[in-house]
Symmetry: C3
Subunit: 338 residues, 3 copies
């Protein structure tokens, strides 16, 4: 693709030789003369000057050493879009594969694609442009909006409602029965039927083998634009706001709320029945055990406000020295036993 | 359903208008005049007085404001059963779907259901009333008892024995090869064949995408009535007793034992070759590194007895202040360097 | 099998009655007179003397009480191989099952086996002796080497390259889209297309329901002979060296490197963009937050060098006592408030 055409597609101005052909995308480190890279700011100019990339995306005014350049106020975003334009993902043809089992009462849009060995239950609806890769199972009464991608062997349980442009990576399970039990007369655990559902709003993405439980009575809800990584567990009755980030192996116990734009880093967890306020940040491996106010940063098990945790951890690393100092004082004073 | 009929089905007495029609179940918070709610005790009466629910399940003697009421010594249990009666789960018809591949030597009870694209290996047995949802794979020599539910794309490896009324949520893997290796002559890792099996006793439930490894020589065993949540990992040669609870993302390393009625909260873990005694409680995120006596409560990484851990954590949070006090003493005594 | 034949197959000398028939393998604890056990060294002779096993594998010179014995410098390794010889795993016949969907452009070796309901995309290659169990999905352009085992419902995304003798347990997902986003103009998260791939070298094994992300630009790579347990998450752009061990529920954030022969124990994790050096050991539940030098042992969240961590933890357990000693000093000196 000519760089002038790429720039036009991105809606960005360019400078230099518009006939330059972009054949690859690359990091500055790995680049070749046929590759397009990007620099976020002048800070990265030393890497650029050592790079073999033939062209770049860079903010206005940044000197790129005479290379053809696409100018952007957000080079990372436009680089991502350039990658998408240069490497369009092949998608299956519309239509239902003959090996798929689709209930007669299901409505599959003529522009949707249902792959080999899929199972689509009664009264399901799949919108235009959506793709079900092989072996996806939709239980009855599932609705999937437009332009969604359900990768291989996703399972969506009965009644789940999925918005538009949702991406479910391979092995995702939506709407599995929540983990709620009561004691029966004999002291055994009896399951509480979960009649609530799961609602996945527009532009949500869920990573491979992650699971989202259905609710007991209301709905478990994942807000618009939220991105969830792999092997994440979201319990029954949880609410996740818009544009949140849940990184890999995060766990949310039941009935908890994560408000909009919260970021939970890898392996962090929430106890049940609490709220993490808007824009809060939960550090990697943190275990949140009570409400977190909006725009707060927390770490640790159980969680502490970020600065407090780092200060306590700094002392923790030196605890043996602390004990020595204590002993020295006791010895000085003739206290304790030495 | 008339509330008098519901009460009779539950085996409970009722008071008030027996002709009242229960159309929904709801929490007190979300209820409508057509919905049935429940109160565990008089403590919840303030919520009930503000609730719109038209009827309730409540202990004898609790004043429910004139609503039709089903009396129960265990309102949570009878509410769960009321939900099941009011929202019976639709189940597939008995029979083997034509797209399923069932080995000729397998015995499928005529009252069992084998869904689309299932694979059932040689010599498998599936009991009466059991349901295999789409894409379940049974390797050879698997036995599944009566009235089990195997959700979509469960995989059960060769020789696994499953009791009655077992529920396996979507994506569960039973009997995967245990993680055991020895060094070969060249210093590489060579897998030790795992010839043991997995035994799942009656009334066990396993959550979505959880995995249970097969054993090296004996059997990995999950005791009757135990409930396991999603994304749990149980290693080779483990034993889990009856009526235990393993919450989400728990990990059990190999050759460990969890005795009956143990509760392990979310993301907690067991090192290998140890025992958690009957009725013990392992707190969320705890990492158990040695035997836990029966009826003990533990938290932390590595675990401590509950009160010790909470006391240590309370000090941990104030470590920076502790250092200041130490410094003040040293200064007072002219010790150390300031 | 006669023990003399078994010894010959193992390439080991034997002593005693060569006509002895080995019918089972067993631990010393569970053994019967028809079973073969093993002892690593003289240390285990007390267990052997109490054992009912009829024959053993033992190092030269170890007195096995007159039992027929196979002599080996590495009894564990030869026991593992004896198990494999005595319990050969049945494997499906070569050929493509009629219910599998294989693209016309895919090349399946005539000695490979493709099971029921598998989906094999365009231009895929599957080598001789490899087995795809039921419901495996290969997206387009996947190559699978020789003698691989892909268990039921493994998903391999487009372009992934898999070496020889690789074992993927049930539910593994290779090549899922990496978790990388940039802000769009409206403040939402926009996915960065991941055009890199995943390379799995020879003799790698991956546990059930584990996931390995594809890279943004380069390749995510798992080195030869590395063994990965269940529910492990490996992020985009990661590199894992040869003969490493990643135990269950480990998480590797993006762009991290684990060098050869590293061992990461259960539930441990790596933050992004760091390196764990050759031969290092990461303890259970450790969270590595910066580079780990080669041949170092680390524990804790965040990680510390092993001895430092154990010493700090030892003090942590006694923090309440530490506070008492501090208070006693303050009281002695008339400092602080009591």
């Amino acid at each position: 693709m000519r760089i002038c055409d790429l720039a036009e597609s991105l809606g960005c101005p360019f400078e230099g030789d518009g006939e330059y052909r972009v054949r690859q995308v690359a990091s500055l480190e790995d680049g070749s003369p046929e590759a397009l890279g990007f620099v976020r700011s002048e800070k990265h100019l030393p890497e650029l000057s050592n790079s073999k990339v033939g062209a770049v995306i860079a903010p206005a005014g940044v000197d790129v050493g005479g290379r053809p350049v696409i100018r952007s106020p957000n080079p990372g975003l436009h680089f991502a879009r350039a990658v998408a334009l240069l490497h369009p993902r092949s998608r299956p043809e519309p239509g239902v594969h003959p090996s798929a089992e689709v209930d007669a009462s299901a409505e599959i849009d003529s522009k949707a694609s249902v792959g080999p060995h899929c199972s689509v239950g009664a009264r399901c609806r799949v919108g235009a442009g959506s793709v079900l890769h092989p072996q996806v199972t939709l239980y009855p009464d599932v609705s999937v909006g437009a332009d969604c991608t359900l990768h291989a062997r996703v399972v969506v349980r009965e009644g789940t409602r999925i918005g538009d442009r949702v991406v479910l990576q391979a092995g995702v399970v939506l709407g599995t029965d929540g983990f709620g039990y009561v004691f029966d007369e004999g002291g055994g655990w009896e399951h509480i039927p979960h009649t609530g559902g799961v609602i996945i709003e527009d532009d949500v993405e869920v990573g491979a083998n992650s699971t989202i439980d259905r609710s007991m009575l209301r709905d478990t809800r994942i807000g618009r634009g939220t991105k969830i990584d792999t092997l994440v567990m979201i319990g029954h009755n949880c609410e996740v706001g818009e544009h949140a980030i849940l990184a890999a192996q995060v766990g949310m116990a039941g009935s908890s709320t994560v408000e909009r734009r919260v970021i939970m880093m890898g392996q962090s967890a929430l106890a049940g029945h609490l709220t993490v306020g808007e824009g809060a940040f939960v550090g990697g491996r943190a275990a949140v055990s009570s409400d977190v106010p909006p725009h707060t940063r927390v770490w640790g098990t159980p969680h502490l406000e970020e600065r407090r945790w780092f200060r306590s951890i700094a002392v923790f690393k030196k605890l043996p020295e602390l004990v020595k100092r204590l002993r020295a004082i006791e010895k000085h004073l003739g206290l304790g036993k030495h």
